[in-house]
């Protein structure tokens, strides 16, 4: 199934999604990699607010290439999400609804996804030019000193994504290869 979603999303919006479905995502998406996640944790530890409204939000794990003059964004494919495993559960518990990246997540993240009715979506790894095409607008909103890892506010239209972890415990990285291998047995 293919779903069209616009951020911010609710738990109800995400409930129909199943691992292996595809999503065309529109609206605002914030970028953050490990360095920005670490700083967000420091803010939370100090009881300060996050640099973006977290409820129903989508975070994209990406460090784009510098944009050429006149271009909205450079190449912008996902980085390996596992480096965010230490930080994601806390953000999901605060209301973050969508994680966008590539690669496997740990059990703590999987459990938090189910508990909060959130999702983990894969962007196409190594497809930076294609992913960039869906970005309409870009603004660095904080931590400019982090360079490509600064937090950016992206406005995206029909960003092509695949559901990896769904709110019901589905995991495409387990079920996808298993289903393929099963199909080869007959």
């Amino acid at each position: 199934m293919q779903y069209k979603l616009t951020t911010p999303v609710t738990r109800e919006d995400l409930a129909p999604l199943r691992a292996g479905d595809t999503v065309l995502l529109s609206g605002v998406v914030y970028t953050a990699r490990d360095a920005a996640h670490k700083r967000m944790m420091e803010l939370l530890d100090k009881g300060e607010p996050l640099p973006f409204p977290v409820e129903g939000s989508a975070l994209y794990y990406v460090g784009p290439t510098p944009e050429r003059p006149g271009e909205v964004i450079g190449s912008a494919g996902p980085t390996t999400s596992g480096r965010m495993d230490a930080y994601s559960p806390r953000l999901l518990d605060l209301g973050q609804a969508i994680m966008i990246g590539k690669g496997a997540r740990n059990q703590a993240v999987k459990d938090t996804v189910v508990r909060n009715g959130a999702v983990y979506l894969a962007a196409l790894g190594g497809a930076g030019a294609l992913m960039a095409a869906s970005v309409q607008k870009l603004e660095v909103i904080c931590w400019e000193d982090l360079g490509c890892e600064a937090v950016r506010r992206l406005e995206v239209e029909d960003m092509p994504l695949t559901v990896i972890l769904d709110p019901h415990g589905g995991d495409l990285y387990q079920s996808g290869p298993a289903a393929y291998l099963n199909s080869q047995k007959g």
Partner: protein, 279 residues
């Protein structure tokens, strides 16, 4: 004796950084096309089509194929009759600095592994030099992304582990990597040498075009078997499941010690980049 100026080397390296990051070598695009033609699993087929679309988008919009424009691994074959006018290594670093800045490529290098301050110009390059006969200088730039680099592994096996042990280690490496290295992957496998040499062999294997098997039929056969076994894992493009997990395996070997069987797997992805110029 032939003289090549440092400025020529800098200009070539700068051009190569940009070209390697924007246009894939033909053997890699051919392998992706072949993968798409032979893939049978619907989601995998669709995924491979999008990855090919990305190559086209990068070329059309003059964008890097992948946002991880990598660590600049620079391989030089230096003719022993060449005299270099100026600083050789600095010429290469300067080329990387220039290419990554002028090409709007991402600067991904930190000056120190633990204190982690970005050098802001993607230097230093990782330079490997081999002295060869002749009066030419061949320079190859391999921008190496770390999504796949991080999934690479090395083991000091026992001689008794033999070819089966090597195969098990390679297949396990890909299984453990799962979706992380952006499959379909390309594998550079080093066998033999010493602890440091075997890693260099694995990296060097990634320079070999995917349509060129090892010239030794024994190792050509091993490459075929490894490719088959890795693809039997069913990980598929992007780890979503499917027939094509790996585009190609290149094995490089070196003599080793009676007591050892070193093996290294350098994992690369569907964006296996390299570009060469001969001066």
């Amino acid at each position: 004796m032939r003289t090549i100026s440092a400025a020529e080397i800098t200009a070539a390296v700068a051009r190569l950084c940009i070209r390697a990051n924007t246009v894939l070598p033909e053997d890699v695009t051919d392998a992706m096309e072949l993968a798409w033609c032979s893939e049978t699993w619907p989601l995998a087929e669709e995924t491979l089509k999008l990855l090919q679309q990305n190559q086209l988008d990068a070329w059309k919009r003059n964008l890097p194929i992948c946002q991880d424009t990598g660590m600049a691994c620079v391989f030089v074959e230096l003719g022993q009759e060449v005299h270099i006018d100026g600083g050789f290594e600095e010429a290469i670093h300067q080329g990387v600095r220039q290419g990554y800045t002028e090409g709007y490529l991402r600067k991904s290098i930190v000056a120190d592994p633990l204190r982690r301050v970005n050098t802001e110009d993607n230097t230093p390059a990782s330079i490997t030099v081999r002295i060869v006969p002749g009066d030419r200088l061949a320079v190859t730039v391999v921008p190496k992304g770390f999504g796949s680099e991080n999934m690479s592994r090395l083991a000091m096996l026992k001689p008794a582990d033999g070819v089966e042990g090597v195969k098990r280690f390679v297949v396990d490496t890909v299984r453990l990597a799962g979706p992380n290295p952006c499959p379909p992957v390309v594998l550079g496998v080093g066998i033999g040498g010493s602890f440091d040499k075997v890693a260099a062999l694995a990296k060097h294997a990634l320079l070999r075009p995917l349509n060129e098997p090892n010239p030794d039929p024994f190792y050509e056969n091993l490459e075929d078997e490894l490719l088959k076994e890795v693809n039997a894992l069913g990980i598929g493009p992007q780890g979503f499941g499917g027939k094509i997990t790996c585009l190609g395996v290149a094995v490089e070997t070196a003599p080793t010690h009676v007591a050892g069987l070193p093996v290294a797997v350098n994992v690369s992805c569907h964006v296996t980049r390299r570009a060469t110029e001969v001066l």
